[in-house]
C-alpha cells in the first residue's frame, strides 16, 4: 500500500521534525566538541589558539583528571557489583508470591521515579555525623559510633556508591524480574522431580537463563554510570579534594566553572570514545551469549 513513490515524500516529512531536533541537540554539538578539543580556549583570559593534541597530552598528566578517572572506575565497578548481586536478590524477593507482593512492587518503583538531586541532597544530610539518620541508626548497635562520612576519601566514596544503589538498584531488580517471568514454571517442576532443591535450581536454571538479560542490563547500567553527574554534584561537589569527582563532573566543572572550554572538550572527547568503544565491544559480546 505504501510502496508507491507518492508516499516517499510523506515518509520523510513525518520523520523530519524528530531528525532536526536530534541533529541540533546531539550531532551538531558533538562535532563542535571534537573541533574545539583541538583549541586552547580560555574564556576568562580571552585566549583562543590552535594547539592540536595539546589538550589531550595535558589531561593525562593532570592529577585532577586522573583522580576523576580513578573514582569513575571505582564507582562503576562498585556500583555494578552491587547492582548485580543485590539486584538479583531483590528480583527474587519481588518474584515471591505473597499477599503484599503488589504493594512491595509499587514501593520499589519509588526510588526510580524520584529525582537523583533530591535524594543526593537528602543523603548529604543523612550522612552527617551528628545530626544524620545513618549514624543515628548505627548508634542503636554501637552507641559510641562516630564518623564523618563525607569528610574522608574512602567513606565518601562508599556513601556515593550507596546512594547510587538506593536510587537505581530497585529499577535494575524490576528489569531482572521481567526476565524472571519469562522462565516457565514447568522447568522448575521438572527440576524438582529430578530432585533439585531451591539452591540447585537457582544456579542451574535461573542464573543461566537470566545471563543474557543480566548482561544486557549491566551494559546499559554501566553506560549510565560512566556519565553519572547529579549524585556527586548535589551530594559531595566532588569532594573531599577531588576524591568523588566523577569524570562527567570534571568535564562540566572545566567547561562551566573554570571556563576551560577546549580542555573540557578534550576530556569529553575521550569520554565519548570510551563509551563508543565499550558499547561496540559489549554489543558484539552480547551477540555471543545466547540461550
Amino acid at each position: 500500500m505504501y510502496a508507491s513513490r507518492k508516499y516517499w515524500a510523506i515518509a520523510w516529512v513525518l520523520v523530519l521534525p524528530a531528525l532536526i531536533i536530534r541533529v541540533f541537540t546531539t550531532i551538531y554539538p558533538i562535532i563542535e566538541t571534537f573541533r574545539i578539543s583541538l583549541y586552547e580556549v580560555k574564556l576568562l583570559r580571552g585566549i583562543r589558539e590552535f594547539v592540536g593534541f595539546g589538550n589531550f597530552i595535558e589531561m593525562f598528566q593532570d592529577s585532577k583528571v586522573i583522580a576523576s578517572i580513578e573514582f569513575t572506575a571505582i564507582f562503576v565497578a562498585g556500583s555494578m557489583i552491587g547492582h548485580i548481586v543485590l539486584g538479583i536478590a531483590l528480583a527474587l524477593i519481588l518474584n515471591m508470591k505473597f499477599a503484599g507482593q503488589k504493594v512491595l512492587r509499587t514501593i520499589v518503583l519509588l526510588p526510580w521515579a524520584m529525582p537523583m538531586v533530591v535524594i543526593a541532597m537528602a543523603s548529604k544530610w543523612a550522612f552527617n555525623n551528628e545530626y544524620g539518620l545513618i549514624n543515628d541508626f548505627v548508634r542503636w548497635f554501637n552507641p559510641n559510633f562516630s564518623l564523618d562520612w563525607l569528610i574522608h576519601t574512602n567513606t565518601a566514596r562508599y556513601a556515593v556508591i550507596a546512594v547510587d544503589l538506593w536510587k537505581d538498584l530497585p529499577f535494575f531488580a524490576i528489569l531482572v524480574l521481567a526476565g524472571l517471568q519469562f522462565i516457565s514454571a514447568e522447568m522448575y517442576e521438572a527440576a524438582k522431580i529430578d530432585g533439585a532443591g531451591h539452591v540447585r535450581s537457582f544456579f542451574s536454571i535461573t542464573l543461566p537463563l537470566l545471563s543474557r538479560n543480566i548482561l544486557m542490563l549491566s551494559i546499559f547500567f554501566t553506560m549510565w554510570r560512566i556519565t553519572s553527574f547529579d549524585v556527586v554534584y548535589a551530594m559531595t561537589s566532588g569532594g573531599p579534594g577531588e576524591s568523588t569527582a566523577l569524570i562527567a563532573y570534571r568535564v562540566t566543572t572545566e567547561a562551566f566553572t573554570n571556563l576551560n572550554t577546549g580542555y573540557a572538550a578534550a576530556i569529553a572527547v575521550v569520554l565519548f570514545l570510551v563509551m563508543a568503544l565499550l558499547s561496540g565491544l559489549s554489543m558484539s559480546a552480547a551477540k555471543r551469549v545466547d540461550y
Binding site: I10, R22, R105, W112, M121, W125, L133, L175, F182
Partner: protein, 281 residues
C-alpha cells in the same frame, strides 16, 4: 495447574521479613525527609535525633511560598514538562509511523542515526550546546528548554511506539483506505486510537523523565527555574549549618509527594513501560 502444598510457616515468615526490610529501606528515608521538613530549624540540630518534632511547623513550606517563589517554579515546571510531553508525543508518533510503515534505505539510516545518537552523553555536548543556544537566543527560554526536553525523550518514545506499530497489521489502515479514508485521516482516526495503550505508557514514563531532568535546566536556564534544580538553589544561611536543611527537606517533600501519588496510581502502566523500554532478553 498442580495443587500447591501450603507453604511452611518459617518460609512465610522469611518472605515477610525480607519484604519488610526492603520496604523499610525505601520508605524510611522518605518519611525522614518529611519529618525534617516539619521540624523547626533549631530542633533539627538536636541530639539525639527526634523522629517526631516537639513543635511541628509548616514554616518551611510557608517560607518556600513567600520568599523562594515556589509557585512560579511549579508553573515553570508544569509548562515545560506539559508542552514537552505533548509536542514530543506528536513528533514521535509521526516518526514512529513513518519508520514502521515505510521501508526505504534512507529511513533505515535515519533510524540507525536516532539510535546511535542515544549514545552521546549530555556532558559531552553540554558546552557547545550552551554556546549555540546563547547565539540563537534560546538560552533561558521556554522554547529552548522544551526543545531540549523533547530531544531527551524522543529516541525512547519512537522506539516503543515503533515496536507497538509493527504489531498492528497494515491491513487495518488499508481497509480504512478502501472505505474512503485519506492518508492523514487514517493516521489520525485509525492508527492513533489503536496506539492509545502504548501512548499512555510512554506518556507516564516520559512524565517522570521530564520531571526529573536535572542536567538540562541546570545548564541551559537561569531565570526559568524548575523544581528539580530549585532544591540546589535554596538560599544558604550564614550560620555554621549553612545549608538550610529544613527548606531542602520541604522542597524535597514537595517534589516527592506528587511522585508517590503518581506511582501509586499508575503502577501497572509504569511497570509495563519500563519493561517495554528495558532490554529485550
Amino acid at each position: 495447574m498442580t495443587t500447591q502444598n501450603p507453604r511452611p510457616l518459617p518460609l512465610t515468615l522469611l518472605m515477610w521479613g525480607l519484604a519488610l526490610i526492603v520496604a523499610f529501606l525505601i520508605l524510611f528515608p522518605l518519611w525522614w525527609i518529611f519529618i525534617s521538613s516539619i521540624t523547626p530549624a533549631g530542633e533539627l540540630f538536636s541530639k539525639p535525633i527526634k523522629y517526631w518534632p516537639d513543635h511541628p511547623t509548616l514554616a518551611s513550606y510557608r517560607y518556600l511560598i513567600e520568599n523562594v517563589g515556589l509557585l512560579p517554579k511549579i508553573w515553570d515546571t508544569a509548562i515545560i514538562v506539559g508542552l514537552s510531553i505533548l509536542i514530543g508525543m506528536i513528533v514521535s508518533v509521526m516518526a514512529a509511523f513513518s519508520f514502521a510503515r515505510f521501508r526505504t534505505r534512507g529511513l533505515a539510516v535515519a533510524v540507525g542515526f536516532l539510535l546511535a545518537s542515544m549514545l552521546i552523553p549530555d556532558v559531552v555536548t553540554a558546552r557547545p550546546l550552551y554556546d549555540f543556544l546563547r547565539s540563537v537566543h534560546l538560552y533561558d527560554t521556554y522554547t529552548g528548554l522544551i526543545i531540549l526536553y523533547i530531544s531527551g525523550i524522543l529516541p525512547f518514545t519512537i522506539l516503543i511506539l515503533q515496536n507497538y506499530l509493527n504489531d498492528i497489521p497494515v491491513s487495518i489502515e488499508e481497509s480504512a483506505a478502501i472505505d474512503g479514508c485519506g492518508f492523514y485521516q487514517s493516521l489520525i482516526y485509525v492508527t492513533v486510537p489503536l496506539l492509545r495503550p502504548a501512548l499512555a505508557t510512554v506518556c507516564i514514563v516520559n512524565f517522570i523523565t521530564c520531571l526529573n531532568n536535572f542536567f538540562t535546566p541546570l545548564f541551559y536556564s537561569n531565570g526559568i527555574s524548575v523544581l528539580s534544580t530549585a532544591i540546589t538553589q535554596l538560599p544558604l544561611r550564614d550560620n555554621m549549618y549553612a545549608v538550610p536543611w529544613d527548606l531542602v527537606s520541604a522542597m524535597g517533600w514537595i517534589i516527592i509527594v506528587p511522585i508517590i501519588v503518581f506511582v501509586a496510581i499508575f503502577q501497572r502502566q509504569i511497570m509495563e513501560g519500563i519493561m517495554a523500554g528495558g532490554v529485550k532478553g
